[in-house]
């Protein structure tokens, strides 16, 4: 039996980093908003400092919809697909902002203009063969007010490096100009991060404390961070992590205009005879509901955004919703986040506590912050070291060829070295290419019988050369701080990731993009898309703040153009 519900002004599919942001400006403008979320609500009592629950068992008390829809992956069409055991993203009110690292960066201005800036500075031939990269349809300056809004409305801690052109060497001097400082000072340093910052300065680099969507002091009546060491894939026990579940979503609910529907498993988006979105279909406990809407914002993460569009076929859209130009799933990339460097020190680091966002960054080799004239790649990487360790993870540290992986010799090694290892996080520019894309897997289905996403994607020479370059810098940094051994991990493959881009890319032309400069479909005027799937480049840093700034901007555009878009 199907139940048809009362028409809403706006339906948001997914209440995570993106949808949870958009709800607030829409509800505050007086629109009736329904948010459909596959997961449930979780509270601070659910966030035990428990490594088995967080890091081993993937939150057993939570809805695991995404884990039943893990995408398959193949590096190219000639290779069989493989399927990872689990999905990196989270279902719940607040989505992955419940347990993410909360690093909260603005992209560098260069990331919005990779094609034209590379051409201008080095010549068009320096754009890697096969890349489909385009300039974004907006620049950093146009997004800056929305970055500012999200930083102040949710709470981001950091040290500004460039306020209206005035540089502060204790912040990131490579960032684009911002209109004002962060609302909170950065998270504090530790003995270890201070050591690393001093080592970076000894190399002539410019270390700084990176930005985090975490309270460094009481903010909006919520507690400061307790640095207790369970933030990495853990929810916050004092609500100091400013995910949407504790910031924008409750504020949107307080307007009385925003209804949160949990355990809603969305299966399709309907269109009317005019080719406009008319309703969202979802299933809860075997019952199908139709939620009619004047406008729909799709915010279900890259894989599910693309999947729902491809599954929503109709006479007007025989290849999937908003896909009459064949662009849904194209220009996909996942961030080159692997290729880490791990170091062994001859002394204890005391990094048992802290969090991944409590770290020291170096941006000297990120984006286009250095001359690439003598290099064989474009783009760069952000170097990041941080304080984060738990016992099971510690006991699984590599042994650097100095001990076997079990037995008495291992035990002696681990007893001495468990607190002497550090793993860096190196995010690098990644580009879209012809041949890297998402589509529906012809063989693997979810429990409802719908095909899962198939990722066909691999890194190319530009990403591999850049990885070598960045690993060289990271090794130098560790050795300057006293490390006695390092291990370089491979860059890996473009399998399922927490940092994914493209698939519904934003751009001026419908021929190469799915959504326009405001985030609305080129083909379906009352359908907006939120999330990393609209981004055409990765930058060298975590995407969440950019996703949220774009989401706020798309919602703002809908409010200001309600009659044109929705009526």
């Amino acid at each position: 039996m199907t139940q048809t519900l009362k028409t809403a002004d706006v339906v948001i599919v997914g209440l995570g980093a993106a949808g949870g942001i958009a709800a607030l400006p829409l509800a505050e403008a007086g629109l009736d908003v329904v948010g459909l979320e596959a997961g449930t609500r979780l509270t601070r009592r659910d966030f035990a400092p428990d490594e088995i629950r967080n890091n081993v068992r993937n939150w057993p008390q939570a809805v695991q919809k995404a884990n039943h829809e893990v995408p398959t992956h193949r590096p190219n069409p000639d290779t069989p697909t493989t399927r990872a055991a689990s999905h990196p993203m989270m279902n719940g009110v607040g989505g992955t902002t419940l347990h993410y690292w909360a690093q909260s960066w603005r992209l560098n201005p260069w990331d919005f203009r990779v094609a034209s800036e590379t051409t201008r500075r080095y010549g068009r031939s320096r754009l890697p063969a096969g890349t489909t990269v385009e300039d974004w349809p907006l620049g950093y300056d146009e997004l800056e007010p929305y970055y500012d809004t999200v930083e102040w409305e949710t709470g981001v801690a950091g040290r500004a490096g460039n306020v209206r052109g005035t540089l502060d060497p204790l912040g990131n001097v490579f960032e684009g100009p911002r209109q004002r400082d962060y609302p909170m000072p950065p998270l504090r340093g530790t003995g270890f991060t201070d050591l690393m910052a001093a080592a970076a300065r000894s190399l002539g680099w410019k270390p700084f404390a990176g930005p985090a969507q975490i309270n460094s002091r009481t903010f909006q009546d919520r507690s400061p961070c307790m640095y207790h060491g369970f933030c990495n894939r853990g929810g916050c026990h004092v609500d100091a992590k400013n995910g949407t579940a504790v910031t924008t979503i409750p504020r949107a609910e307080k307007t009385g205009r925003f209804t949160v529907v949990t355990r809603a498993h969305v299966t399709a988006i309907d269109v009317d005879q005019r080719g406009r979105v008319s309703a969202v279909r979802y299933v809860t406990d075997g019952t199908e509901f139709v939620q009619p809407a004047q406008a729909v914002l799709l915010a279900a993460y890259t894989y599910e955004n693309v999947r729902l569009l491809l599954l929503s076929k109709s006479r007007g859209f025989p290849n999937g919703l908003s896909n009459n130009h064949g662009q849904v799933g194209r220009h996909y990339l996942s961030h080159a986040q692997e290729g880490r460097v791990t170091a062994l020190f001859p002394f204890d680091l005391n990094t048992w506590y802290g969090l991944p966002a409590q770290g020291t960054a170096v941006d000297d080799f990120a984006d286009d912050n250095f001359d690439h004239g003598g290099h064989d790649f474009i783009g760069g990487g952000n170097l990041w070291v941080y304080s984060d360790r738990r016992p099971i993870g510690a006991a699984n540290m590599p042994t650097f060829g100095r001990a076997p992986s079990w037995g008495s010799a291992w035990k002696a090694f681990i007893r001495e070295n468990a607190d002497r290892v550090n793993v860096s996080y190196l995010q690098k520019t990644t580009l879209p290419y012809e041949g890297n894309y998402l589509d529906l897997d012809p063989h693997v289905k979810d429990p409802l019988g719908f095909p899962v996403i198939r990722i066909t994607a691999d890194y190319r020479d530009n990403e591999r050369r850049l990885n070598d370059f960045i690993q060289d810098r990271m090794e130098r940094w560790y050795r300057a701080a006293g490390a006695v051994a390092v291990i370089r991990s491979p860059l890996g493959t473009m399998g399922p990731s927490t940092h994914t881009y493209g698939g519904t890319r934003m751009g001026e032309t419908a021929e190469t993009n799915v959504v326009n400069r405001w985030g609305f479909s080129h083909e379906v005027p009352n359908l907006g898309v939120l999330g990393g799937s609209v981004m055409g480049t990765s930058g060298a840093r975590n995407p969440t703040l950019t996703i949220q700034a774009l989401a706020w901007r798309t919602a703002d555009h809908l409010v200001k153009n309600w009659k044109t878009i929705a009526e």
Binding site: A48, G191, Y353, G354, I392, A395, S405, W406, R415
Partner: protein, 217 residues
């Protein structure tokens, strides 16, 4: 790179003449206290999923993965087998069959290749069997479900969880695992002093679920 075989040779040479059967525990239980812990581990927890025979074999395996030795008690004393047994009746139920097949296959391999059941071998021979299982070279002769290396890495991962995870799940008894790696313990608030170089904070020993601050998983 030091190979495991080289290390084993060195260890074997050093221990020449001292290769007593592992199940007596003579080379590992050097104090009455450790013996008590071990005895307790073996007798206290009623099994929830493993058979008694499987549990004894698994105990002999994890005793070699993280042995009790001069650096203190190991995985058996920490209750890693209890952790695994309980998990196989719950969150790890999907791995129950892999344990049934894998343990049986390991025992067959021990008898085929070394002429003795795993539990009656010397520690050095047990290690050599485990090296074969880890490397995948036990796969063909004994009928593992997939590669023997897959079975080994599964048992290793679960043993580590049961030794170093929160004691709420039945392992890490007496905080043996946390003492081994030097973890200062679960705190819900950490001060700047707790994060200084060269000075670890004092150890606290509690489970995340002591004190009813958190819903149980």
């Amino acid at each position: 790179m030091i190979s495991r075989r080289d290390l084993l040779k060195a260890a074997g040479a050093a221990a020449a003449g001292a290769a007593v059967p592992a199940r007596t525990g003579a080379e590992v239980s050097t104090t009455a206290e450790r013996h008590d812990l071990r005895h307790e581990a073996a007798t206290r927890a009623p099994l929830e999923s493993l058979t008694a025979e499987e549990a004894e074999l698994l105990t002999a395996i994890v005793a070699r993965l993280i042995p009790a030795d001069a650096n203190g008690p190991g995985a058996v004393e920490a209750g890693a087998v209890t952790y695994i047994d309980r998990a196989l009746a719950g969150p790890l139920a999907a791995s129950r069959e892999s344990y049934r097949r894998g343990l049986a296959a390991l025992e067959r391999y021990a008898i085929q290749s070394r002429g003795a059941p795993f539990r009656s071998m010397t520690a050095v021979d047990q290690d050599s069997v485990l090296i074969d299982v880890e490397a995948g070279s036990a796969t063909q002769s004994a009928g593992f479900d997939g590669s023997s290396a897959t079975f080994f890495s599964m048992v290793r991962a679960h043993t580590w969880q049961g030794t170093f995870g929160d004691p709420y799940y039945g392992g890490n008894r007496g905080y043996i695992g946390w003492d081994l790696v030097g973890y200062p313990g679960v705190r819900t608030a950490v001060t700047p002093d707790d994060q200084r170089l060269g000075q670890l904070p004092p150890r606290v020993r509690r489970s995340a679920y002591d004190g009813d601050s958190f819903n149980k998983a």
